[in-house]
């Protein structure tokens, strides 16, 4: 298998003995979207800075697009596109000027550059606004321009550092579609960092969960959720069970476990929820416990995170903001 990114034992220590990274390593298969999921301050941005040659690790090594980031930074820079968390757009210039300058820095020019710039403006829905000063752009438009900037020179590896942070829900959904489309149309390898569980779940083929500068889990979203063993089945009964008929009805079903009854709500787990539901419904009906509604849900990455780190995701975020966390964004 071809790897577009290989990182091994990355350690980064900031002044004050702050270990932002404590041995991060992973491999990214070429042509796929790879997610790095973690709360604020987990080390995602620091990892991206190292992989994009903006920062040097204190230990470890990394190869991006076939080049060692420490030994051949210029070759790495030619091969990658970076869309960082803090936009990086020149707000005093127009969209087109921004894109043109970006291309020129990669030694593009003439008609090829103008063509590529127009193509990207079209594709990202910025054609009409192209010659307006970026200051007048909406948040979503500016983010799309950020992505266009990362793509001008047709990189093979694209880094998207928290691409949807700060965008409202609707724009975020658009951005997800855009990212999916890019990955397939341009044949890009994308490394995406996010602290939205949903985003990683939805976009990434493969992902790592990072916490406090270390990788705590690695796999496909489904594999990671599989750690929790089974789907949650929630059944709403027509009336509360007073004589234990529900338990009696479900007792013979070996693939349904962890049965909990709370008033009219019945919760259980099953390895394959969708398959178990018809049998569960039938057993309840024949056992004399009519059902009002039923839902099956896959365990979320939130559950996975809680299981792995002992903290909920939101808790880790708050902790990062009040404590050691903000080294990443602010202190550099």
């Amino acid at each position: 298998m071809d790897h577009a990114i290989e990182a091994e034992g990355l350690v980064k220590i900031y002044p004050g003995d702050i270990r932002a990274l404590d041995g991060v390593g992973f491999r990214v298969e070429a042509g796929t979207i790879f997610g790095m999921l973690g709360p604020n301050g987990a080390g995602k941005s620091t990892t991206v800075k190292i992989l994009t040659t903006l920062s040097r690790p204190d230990e470890g090594r990394a190869i991006v697009a076939g080049f060692d980031v420490l030994e051949r930074p210029s070759d790495v820079r030619r091969a990658i596109g970076v869309v960082s968390q803090r936009s990086g757009v020149d707000r005093e210039a127009t969209g087109r000027e921004n894109l043109r300058l970006q291309g020129q820095l990669f030694d593009m020019g003439g008609r090829a550059l103008e063509g590529r710039v127009s193509e990207l403006l079209d594709r990202l829905g910025l054609a009409e606004a192209a010659d307006r000063i970026v200051k007048t752009f909406s948040g979503g438009m500016q983010r799309r321009l950020d992505i266009a900037l990362g793509l001008v020179h047709q990189p093979t590896v694209l880094f998207l550092d928290e691409p949807t942070t700060g965008l409202d829900l609707e724009v975020r959904a658009d951005m997800w579609d855009e990212i999916t489309r890019l990955a397939s149309e341009e044949g890009l390898t994308i490394l995406l960092t996010t602290h939205y569980l949903e985003e990683a779940d939805r976009l990434a083929k493969q992902l790592v969960i990072v916490d406090r500068g270390r990788v705590v889990a690695e796999g496909t979203p489904d594999e990671l959720k599989g750690v929790l063993k089974g789907d949650a089945i929630t059944v709403e009964l027509e009336e509360p069970d007073l004589d234990g008929r529900v338990e009696r009805a479900l007792a013979p079903m070996f693939d349904v476990r962890e049965i909990q009854l709370d008033g009219k709500t019945l919760r259980a787990r099953s390895d394959d929820g969708a398959r178990a539901v018809p049998a569960v419904l039938q057993a309840l009906e024949t056992g004399g416990a009519p059902v009002a509604s039923v839902t099956v849900s896959r365990p979320s990455l939130d559950d996975v995170y809680l299981r792995l780190t002992g903290r909920s995701f939101a808790e880790a975020d708050t902790e990062a903001e009040s404590g050691r966390g903000d080294q990443e964004g602010v202190r550099r």
Binding site: T53, R56, Q85, R86, G88, V89, A93, Q102
Partner: protein, 258 residues
């Protein structure tokens, strides 16, 4: 090499475009030095009557000083733009491209140089309108402009280096007020140093601002002392190189510490 030069020009063009889109900035940078000439010119008009001043028209004397002071302050403020770029993530965006690192600094310095040439031309014209006369030595005007470019670029490089290290606008403002302003007064911008106390004369000998003043104004004299002028110009050029080197070093350190 030609690649680095080309990229320097791309950066310069970006900065110039940014400036030309701010009419308020243009107005202030044009009007302020003109006000200096009018204000100081009126305030110190009679200063030429002091025996030993060595010039009989203060506007004649003052205009080259203001030309240099204007370039000096533009240079001093350069770091502000860089800090803005660093905060907005623009600098990091450039650093992850293969752009020559030197071009990122040189682009700003070249912009300073271009602005210094334009401002010098405007200020000298105003000075002449107000009665200054440099007819004796038009070639000296060119040398004065060279001095203003070198002085502006030197302090522009220093300001850049400082911006990269401290990354705070407040520090740049403080440095302009506590370093550049005193340097102006420890030089012959406003009065001839022969009238200044001994310690100021001593300090001025080590002051790059005064090197520029002595070379630039000296070149406009009816019979220039080329030995002194070239010596000062040499010192100023050496100073500019050291400042440029410092800025490059600071930029490298920035990347290592990121």
């Amino acid at each position: 090499m030609s690649r680095a030069l080309r990229q320097t020009w791309y950066m310069t063009r970006r900065h110039l475009m940014g400036l030309f889109r701010q009419p308020v900035w243009i107005a202030i940078t044009l009007v302020q030095p003109i006000i200096w000439i009018l204000l100081y010119g009126a305030l110190f008009k009679r200063i030429v009557d002091i025996p030993g001043f060595g010039s009989d028209n203060y506007i004649d004397f003052l205009t080259p000083g203001i030309v240099l002071m204007t370039a000096l302050f533009s240079g001093g403020w350069t770091g502000m733009g860089l800090i803005e770029d660093m905060k907005a993530g623009v600098t990091d965006r450039f650093l992850v491209t293969p752009v020559s690192r030197g071009a990122l600094i040189a682009g700003r310095l070249l912009m300073l140089g271009i602005i210094a040439v334009i401002q010098s031309a405007i200020l000298l014209s105003i000075g002449m309108l107000l009665g200054a006369s440099y007819r004796e030595n038009p070639a000296g005007l060119l040398l004065l402009v060279v001095c203003s470019v070198l002085l502006g670029a030197s302090f522009g490089a220093l300001s850049t280096a400082m911006a990269v290290v401290v990354r705070k606008e407040e520090t740049v403002i403080a440095a302009v007020n506590f370093i550049i302003l005193p340097l102006t007064f420890l030089s012959g911008v406003f009065i001839t140093l022969s009238l200044a106390p001994g310690w100021i004369r001593t300090a001025a000998r080590f002051n790059p601002v005064n090197w520029a003043v002595e070379a630039g104004r000296g070149a406009l004299a009816p019979s220039p002392d080329w030995g002194v002028i070239l010596a000062r110009l040499g010192l100023l050029a050496a100073f500019a190189l050291v400042c440029g080197w410092l800025a490059t070093r600071a930029f490298r350190a920035y990347q290592r510490s990121a």
